[in-house]
């Protein structure tokens, strides 16, 4: 479904992604872990189409199409969804109005009829149960004054109603207490199926106790330096990111020697 080949990207003058290679198939859940500043969030935003990231090399195929030439809205309509680490507060736009506009934009693109107010409300009510979200939030301005947990639940609610093929969860566990984490994770798990791929980005192993991935990749200084299965996460937790860092430094020294 998603093929990332030698992807390079920078923000300003900083080269953040330095040759990412990753294949994600339908139905698979991939976790991407890594220390702060390793490029996890940059990867998520590049995939979603954020404009201030400049792709300087490589390519990304999504269902065989060149993802990087598509606008953010085209990606969303084609089924790419990014759950934000920091969902944006938008005063003056009610959550319902926003959700309805989003759902219908996506439905229209997929050749489905737009939902009227009643149909939309029925859909929302059903999906809200997934994340145990309070219906009162619907009438409030989008994310404004929402607690950290409410914002993240709102992200997963959006994911549920937009029904994406590829969902990227950017540090969805950050700022959540254990109860909120459990609710959010069970919402995500309910949305797992054989057609939908997920990329779960996280700093901590903790989230992966709830959302169990098929594959784990470790990102360090803009590259995937280690890939494996669930056990890799446990090893990382035990040894810490310093383990990766020191391994990388050794291999760099090795590189220099071989150059000599």
């Amino acid at each position: 479904m998603l093929e990332i080949k030698d992807l390079w990207a920078k923000v300003g003058d900083n080269e953040i992604l330095r040759g990412i290679n990753l294949n994600v198939g339908a139905g698979e859940v991939h976790a991407i872990m890594g220390p702060n500043g390793s490029g996890k969030s940059t990867l998520a935003h590049v995939l979603a189409g954020r404009e201030n990231y400049e792709v300087t090399g490589g390519r990304v195929l999504y269902e065989g199409k060149d993802l990087l030439t598509m606008s953010p809205e085209a990606r969303a309509r084609e089924g790419v969804f990014l759950a934000f680490q920091y969902p944006v507060e938008i005063p003056g736009v009610s959550t319902t109005y926003f959700l309805k506009a989003a759902v219908n934009a996506v439905r229209k693109h997929r050749g489905l009829e737009e939902l009227d107010a009643m149909e939309f409300l029925a859909l929302i009510k059903e999906k809200m149960q997934l994340v145990e979200m309070d219906q009162a939030l619907l009438n409030r301005p989008l994310n404004e004054g929402f607690s950290g947990g409410e914002k993240k639940r709102n992200e997963i609610l959006q994911m549920a109603v937009l029904d994406p093929k590829l969902a990227i969860l950017d540090e969805t566990d950050s700022g959540l207490d254990i109860d909120a984490l459990r609710i959010v994770a069970s919402g995500v798990n309910a949305l797992r199926n054989q057609d939908r791929a997920m990329i779960v980005i996280t700093h901590y192993q903790r989230l992966l106790n709830y959302i169990v991935p098929d594959f784990i990749h470790v990102l360090y200084e803009g590259r995937i330096v280690k890939s494996g299965t669930r056990e890799l996460a446990l090893e990382l937790e035990e040894k810490g990111y310093d383990w990766i860092k020191s391994q990388e430094q050794r291999s760099e020294i090795g590189d220099q020697r071989s150059e000599v």
Partner: protein
């Protein structure tokens, strides 16, 4: 034509008016006119060298020989007017065309006993002296050239009188239409709203333009709120693209009076809105709530001044502007806290959203404080749409244009939400959504 020549024209027009139309006026009014024209003669038109007019040039008004009494209204229906004025559900409305009252287009439903809603010209014809204690007592005839000009030439406008403890909750719509088919029409509508102690009123003044010609409208409204009154006042402005509007609202508030004055400016080529609110009683509360939505070559100058005269009064001011094209906005907000006005609470905010590279705003908040125990703040911002918010909306499938128009609408909503008349708020919402929706269509083409 130079400003000095234009001034001469108004002076000679007044000499004719003095010996003709104004002869039937009672002595107090004739006297008021004489002192007003003398002030105008002394003041002349303001120039950009005057601090209060620094960013607004009046050349486009002073270079044209606008004439009173030009243009007669025969082609407009009450329905046309209501639609344009966003007031189709209005039960009580007075309609003025080029400054003159049109009874057959107006309508008044049943009003509580004692309340008066009428045309000032009618009041004067009846030899009724109810106007004398108020008219011209609050507006700054000696300092403001356009108030002086209005006072010299005023013939008609609305007179609303709400007696003691009388509560008028249904809105009274005062609709001022300028109709010009190329005759450079001038009008000087003058209104007076008096709400006596304990009274309540809701007034909507709407200005609209009709026809292809240019025109100049120079309205002045004096609004007096007695002790413990509750007044909700709106000035909605939808002048035509060749409309020149210099408007003044002069407010005088008594003890524990609560006033909300809304200024929604959507139209006009050159517009100046002067609001002067004097909080002349302890514990009074004043909200100034403004929105200006401009594009093309529109120039709109909002100049507000709040004077805290007595202790424990509160003023809250929020003006927001949305500018596109090569529009120019000016915000001049002054809060003056006099030395007796201890425990004053004043907050002023001006926020501007620029949607194009050529749009421009000058914003100048000012605080002058002569009391020592007060809480005052002011702030202004000029910015573009938030990029994070745009990306967030687009990442959910909204097109760039839809995301922009939604965020623009959201920016205005804080002001629109304070409009308490449901039908008007709904009309404004629709107007704004359509307006920004239309903008996007033209972008696509």
């Amino acid at each position: 034509m130079l400003a000095s020549e234009s001034k001469e024209l108004y002076l000679s027009e007044f000499r004719r008016y003095r010996n003709n139309g104004a002869t039937k006026n009672p002595p107090w009014l004739r006297q008021l006119r004489e002192s007003a024209i003398a002030s105008f003669q002394k003041l002349g038109f303001p120039t950009t060298r005057d601090e209060d007019w620094k960013y607004t040039s009046l050349d486009s008004i002073t270079s044209v020989a606008f004439q009173r009494g030009n243009g007669v209204a025969k082609t407009v229906t009450a329905d046309d007017i209501s639609t344009l004025a966003l007031a189709d559900s209005a039960r009580h409305r007075l309609i003025f065309i080029n400054g003159q009252y049109f009874p057959h287009l107006s309508s008044l439903g049943a009003l509580p006993v004692g309340i008066r809603v009428e045309s000032i010209a009618e009041t004067l014809q009846r030899n009724d002296d109810s106007l004398a204690p108020h008219l011209g007592r609050y507006a700054r005839v000696r300092e403001q050239a356009f108030v002086a000009l209005n006072t010299a030439f005023m013939e008609d406008g609305a007179f609303v009188m709400v007696p003691k403890n009388c509560k008028l909750r249904e809105p009274i719509h005062l609709i001022f239409v300028s109709l010009s088919n190329g005759e450079s029409v001038a009008s000087h509508p003058r209104s007076l709203v008096v709400v006596e102690d304990g009274g309540e009123a809701r007034i909507v003044e709407t200005y609209i333009g009709w026809g292809m010609g240019n025109y100049f409208v120079n309205p002045v409204t004096e609004l007096v709120g007695g002790e413990g009154t509750l007044v909700d006042y709106y000035r909605l402005q939808r002048e035509g693209i060749k409309g020149f509007h210099i408007g003044t609202l002069e407010v005088q508030l008594g003890r524990n009076c609560n006033l909300a004055a809304h200024a929604i400016t959507l139209g006009g080529a050159l517009v100046r809105n002067d609001v002067h609110a004097v909080l002349n009683g302890e514990g009074s509360e004043c909200l100034l709530n403004g929105l200006y939505v401009l594009d093309g070559k529109q120039h709109v100058d909002n100049s507000t001044e709040i004077e805290h005269m007595k202790p424990k009064a509160t003023s809250l001011e929020l003006y927001k502007g949305i500018l596109s094209g090569s529009a120019r906005g000016v915000f001049n907000g002054k809060i003056m806290v006099h030395k007796d006005a201890q425990k004053t609470n004043a907050r002023q905010t001006n926020k501007n959203l620029l949607l194009s590279a050529d749009a421009m705003v000058n914003t100048k908040p000012q605080l002058e404080i002569y009391a020592d125990d007060v809480k005052c703040s002011h702030g202004s911002t000029i910015g573009q749409l938030d990029r994070d918010a745009l990306f967030y909306l687009r990442s959910r499938g909204l097109s760039r244009d839809d995301a922009q128009s939604l965020l623009t609408y959201a920016f205005a909503s804080e002001v629109v939400a304070r409009v308490k008349i449901d039908s008007m708020r709904q009309r404004l919402d629709d107007y704004l959504l359509t307006k920004f929706g239309r903008n996007q269509e033209s972008k696509i083409q």
